[in-house]
Symmetry: C2
DNA sequence: CGTTAGCACTCTGGCTTGTCGAGTGCTAAC
DNA sequence: GTTAGCACTCGACAAGCCAGAGTGCTAACG
């Protein structure tokens, strides 16, 4: 069902005003805002029809109208004019990212922080990892006579360490042997390939050292598990507490939901590629009613990638937030590729 | 000025009830609770005097009394009966800590989480580091043709890594040389000794590789800085949002304050050794009015140590929280010593 | 037929009012 | 020093009221 041109303009205007003020908008307020303005009565008629079509609703009889989730959907897909970033904005972001940008984790942390600050929402990121990432190297470092640290570097540029304790003192040779075996067996493997059986077979191949090294192998297994699944991190939760749309309960409930990382992970990893906007109840999660999620992927040259996005109130400023998130994702992908030295025809000559 | 024995009992009872209910407590409510009960009129008289002495105050004329900060101070220092942990509690904590206890960071994370959950407050911990910690080892790991990761292990058992990018490709020899020089120069040094001058002099001693390695040295410097200062982490912020004593504003303000880590760090590091309770305004931070902090240090055998504690409403359950925190601190210290292999006459034969 | 002006209607939010109950302070008796 | 009794104060809560905003409908207009 096609919407008349004026109705589209009215709906757009309602959404714009609502995003700005957060209050139901009445017919009179729109009179001054439309291009070829018509009288408030006409607008009322159109609004009544828009309400009948499910795009507007009124909290109570004599209040203005507020846009429904369907209206936001239409707005984002068709009506909205993207508010592209100014050169200044870009420079600002570039500055933030290139400043402490050598380290992947730092980079993503900074990006998350900046995004949260600029949008006033909660920023959500996942580490650049995935089942497809492979193991680049493994190292074993002595910590004390009877404990050592394992280090794992994955193809996505992440380093993870973990200390383990042996049942008795271990010699340098044992550690060295352990390191060699681990590297031989697992270097180049994708993280998802490695399961308990493979690791248990190491106990055998290590011969006399096998049993002694069991704690280390156990730690290694945990390390692999940990690296294989995307690690979600949130920034700017405080922003929610400052936002007028979130009262105590709503903020608490949303944050409680976000604290359950496993739910969030599954939500994010289930997203198809490209930029996605999930509006309120579209996620079928009651906790997300009244909130929107905008996420996209940042791609490394190869397989592994991660997500970056924001979570905030339904009436967030999509027009500026969306281009901003896209820019962040592109920049992160580019910088990570540079760090990791992927040779995929990107100009790495900048700076 | 000494308090009469009955007044002490009355004050204790008021505090106990207030901690339980959070509401002003009246004279009648106390009649049934005191040992050698007296009439409500007598209690009223005593309460009036306690109010005059600054231990009680009433929100308005015809409400019950609530304890002042001074009352809590007295309560904690003299009146309170510590509610020692049951064997079961201890076993529970031991189980949590020994379960994933090989890794120092994991250990402290788990402890923090458990403490937050058990007390319903925000748990605060600092990593076991300090100016006095020394550098145990440094490693340089190749990440890509033109980037590498630096790894630093400090005497407190913490591993920190950071990736850095070189201006052009670097050979294995260069990295190896860098690693050797860094270890020779800085292994065994305390973290606080290392400043920019020492690192800059490395550029010279590295000879032809000096300039190429500048980014790595810069990253190393940042790594040292980072490891030198205690890293504060909070767990269970959501608890505040569930607590009836914190409405939207109070929760927001407290969390905003806690988010400013530098303030928190200075607050924690300024604490003298031993267990401390800071009640509301005693910290001279307006944001902490109405909240209390309980912290203590956990000590490693050697110099470095960290803090663990909780932050919550004034009317928290001090009698059970304090022994609990002490137990956590002792356990963490013991386990870390075991991991790090300090030989200080502790029985490491458990389990 | 689409647009406009006018009007009666509805509903919310804020304000005032009145009542209830908890708790106190004081006084006088024990 | 302790207790009983009583008048008083104050906040919480419900009920009632008013003003304002915004609508839906109808009738007139081009």
């Amino acid at each position: 069902m096609e919407l008349g041109e004026r109705k589209q303009r009215i709906l757009s205007a309602v959404i714009d005003v609502f995003i700005r003020t957060g209050e139901p908008v009445g017919s009179k307020a729109l009179v001054g805002l439309l291009e070829n303005s018509v009288s408030s009565a006409t607008i009322r008629n159109d609004m009544a029809e828009l309400a009948a079509m499910g795009y507007l609703e009124q909290p109570h009889t004599s209040a203005g109208r507020i846009p429904t989730a369907a209206a936001f959907r239409l707005y984002i897909d068709r009506l909205m004019k993207r508010n592209e970033l100014s050169d200044e904005d870009r420079r600002g972001i570039d500055g933030i990212l290139t400043h402490a940008a050598d380290d992947p984790e730092k980079l993503i942390g900074k990006a998350s922080q900046a995004l949260a600050e600029e949008t006033g929402c909660v920023a959500v990121t996942t580490t650049p990892t995935g089942k497809t990432a492979d193991i680049r190297m493994i190292d074993v470092l002595r910590v004390s006579p009877h404990s050592a640290a394992l280090l794992l570097m994955s193809g996505s540029g992440l380093l993870r360490t973990r200390v383990c304790r042996f049942d008795r003192e271990v010699g340098d040779k044992t550690l060295e042997m352990l390191s060699q075996h681990l590297n031989q067996s697992f270097c180049g493997c994708s993280l998802s390939e490695i399961g308990l059986p493979q690791i248990q077979s190491m106990v055998v191949s290590l011969g006399e050292h096998g049993l002694l090294c069991a704690p280390a192998l156990n730690a290694f297994y945990q390390l692999v598990q940990e690296s294989a699944e995307a690690e979600v991190s949130l920034t700017g939760q405080l922003n929610l507490l400052h936002h007028p749309d979130y009262d105590h309960e709503r903020a608490r409930d949303l944050l409680s939901f976000l604290a359950r990382r496993e739910l969030l992970t599954s939500l994010l990893t289930a997203m198809p590629k490209g930029l996605r906007v999930v509006i309120g109840s579209e996620s079928h999660r009651p906790e997300l009613d009244g909130s929107s999620i905008i996420v996209t992927r940042y791609n490394l040259g190869g397989g592994p990638d991660g997500s970056i996005g924001i979570i905030g109130p339904l009436r967030m400023n999509y027009a500026t937030a969306i281009p901003r998130i896209e820019y962040f994702a592109r920049s992160i992908g580019k910088i990570l590729d540079e760090i990791m030295g992927e040779n995929n025809a990107r100009n790495t000559d900048e700076e």
